[in-house]
Amino acid sequence: MPAPALAGGPGEDEAVTQPGIEVEHLRKEFGDKVAVADISFTVPGGTLLGLLGSNGAGKTTVINCLTTLVEPDGGRAAVAGHDVVAQPRQVRESIALTGQFAALDEVLSGRENLVLFGRLLRLGRTGARQRAEELLDRFHLTEAADKPVKSYSGGMRRRLDLAASLVVERPVLFLDEPTTGLDPRSREEMWQLIRQLRDGGSTVLLTSQYLEEIDRLADRVVVLDDGQVIAEGTTDELKERVGGQVCEIEVPVPEKEAAAAALRSGLGEVAERGGALVVPAPRARTLADVVRLLEEAGIEAENVALRKPTMDEVFFAFTSDGTQRPNAERSGV
């Protein structure tokens, strides 16, 4: 009977031994399309790993393999110490999944949805109703509890979706793009809830297209591209390798050469990307320096802005700076 061990989640001193998620050389093909070529990573118990990648990078396929929805074609994976192929039932007893598309019944109310999932997990009618009340309260949905889900806003829907996956608390959580399509405020709310779960000792695998989201939440990051791991590390390591914040300067084309020279004299490094000049800007001060240097050179900029690296730049950084694609080199590990 797993319930007593699972209910509390891993305690502080158990966190070391609590198995999280282990993925070794995972492979999955759909017809002749290779969705996951060769992916390996580990999520230690009680930590949050961010799986970063664009659409089609293989994030959802990895999640589907780990949640026993599809069977991998190669490699092995274990969740909470259970093999996903050999012990799918035990895996399902240890996990909760919040999918990319909020899987709720549109016609039923928020409360009815939570009661349904509680009954499916055999809490009994009374137990399911009680648990639904607790979750509605915790996720600030009590007011809308009796309205049909189709009338909910995007943020409310995601909160209910997350609540539905916590009807019975599990040691391992899969959050597949939990904030895609949300407005900034709802996103911030979701982040807060996810942070609470992580702090509560859950092992969380979070997928996202947003670097910022991973940055705010994850202990470690795995970057996927084209079904392969192209980078992994802590968020700090990742940012360092991408190059951090930059200052982007747009000037009229005839003055670009002069502007680049002026910036180089004062700041050292200047690159050109997409028609704009780019200088590394680890501090906000760089912005003032840029404005001053341009003024001294008598150049009027069209636009000067500080900018965080984009996903494109992450991929650019990891695919062009010599980081090996792992297929050949790592297959022996």
């Binding site: 929805l69 039932r89 035990q90 999918g99 499916l120």
Partner: protein
């Protein structure tokens, strides 16, 4: 052991989870549209066809008020199945199916829940159509056992069709496309049967096809069970047809279920 005490194994879990899902299925479709489909349309069909053909067949010595309602029942079993197929597609599209399958829920509970709610709709349709028929002059003339047989055969027909529509529904994520697609075989099968006219009303070369179509065979069995002389000879071909089709459709549905992830 984990497996023995989990929420995925055993008949107890299956029954509880199946009934929770059946309740949800019923609740989900308990709306105005279904009230029209199950409360108003059958009345229009029974009285409409009676008005069209009643006097015509009376001249040939056929009591159309007794002849028609079993056909309308069969027609509505198609409606139950087609609606169910579209609902399966909707569950797949919305992620509801994915969520259920990622939880420790008995693998068969989704199917059991769907069949149970479809059975409720089917019984409801039989009751509404029989009551409407009664007003028009239709009578169960063969006793209580025959009435029970009538209901069971109708529900079995609906569930057999549901297995087929589930296979189609689970292969798609577009409920509207599924509903539209399923209308085609439904119309062809019901038109090319003895639902509305006797087999000898068709051209001679088509007559055998009409007579041995599973839809005709089921409708004739229903008519027999409603008649003064219910006959096993009319019922067993229907049972045989349904058993055979159920094997094929279930296989197709199970295959679609495994792929619908």
């Amino acid at each position: 052991m984990t497996a023995a005490t989990g929420t995925e194994h055993g008949i107890g879990n299956l029954a509880a989870q199946g009934s929770a899902l059946a309740g949800r299925n019923l609740r989900q479709r308990a709306n105005a549209e279904m009230l029209v489909v199950f409360g108003v349309f059958p009345v229009i069909f029974v009285f409409g066809f009676l008005l069209l053909f009643g006097r015509l067949f009376a001249e040939r010595g056929l009591d159309y008020a007794q002849f028609l309602p079993p056909a309308i029942v069969a027609q509505w079993m198609f409606t139950v199945a087609n609606t169910s197929g579209a609902a399966s597609a909707a569950d797949r599209a919305s992620g509801m199916l994915t969520r259920c399958l990622s939880m420790p829920v008995n693998r068969a509970a989704v199917v059991v829940g769907r069949l149970a709610s479809d059975a409720v709709w089917a019984v409801l349709a039989v009751v509404v159509i029989s009551a409407t028929g009664y007003v028009a002059g239709f009578r169960f003339q063969g006793g209580a056992l025959a009435v029970l047989g009538f209901v069971l055969l109708a529900v079995a027909f609906a569930l057999t069709l549901t297995a087929a529509t589930t296979a189609v529904g689970l292969s798609s994520t577009d409920p509207e496309a599924v509903a539209a697609t399923l209308n085609l075989p439904y119309l062809a099968l019901i038109m090319l049967s003895t639902a509305f006219v006797p087999a000898d009303a068709f051209p001679g070369w088509l007559e055998p096809v009409i007579r041995y179509s599973p839809v005709s065979v089921v409708i004739e069995a229903l008519r027999s069970l409603a008649s003064t002389t219910p006959s096993w000879g009319k019922v067993w071909p229907a049972v045989a047809w349904l058993a055979g089709l159920l094997v094929i459709f279930s296989w197709a549905a199970a295959r679609a279920f495994r792929r619908a992830r």
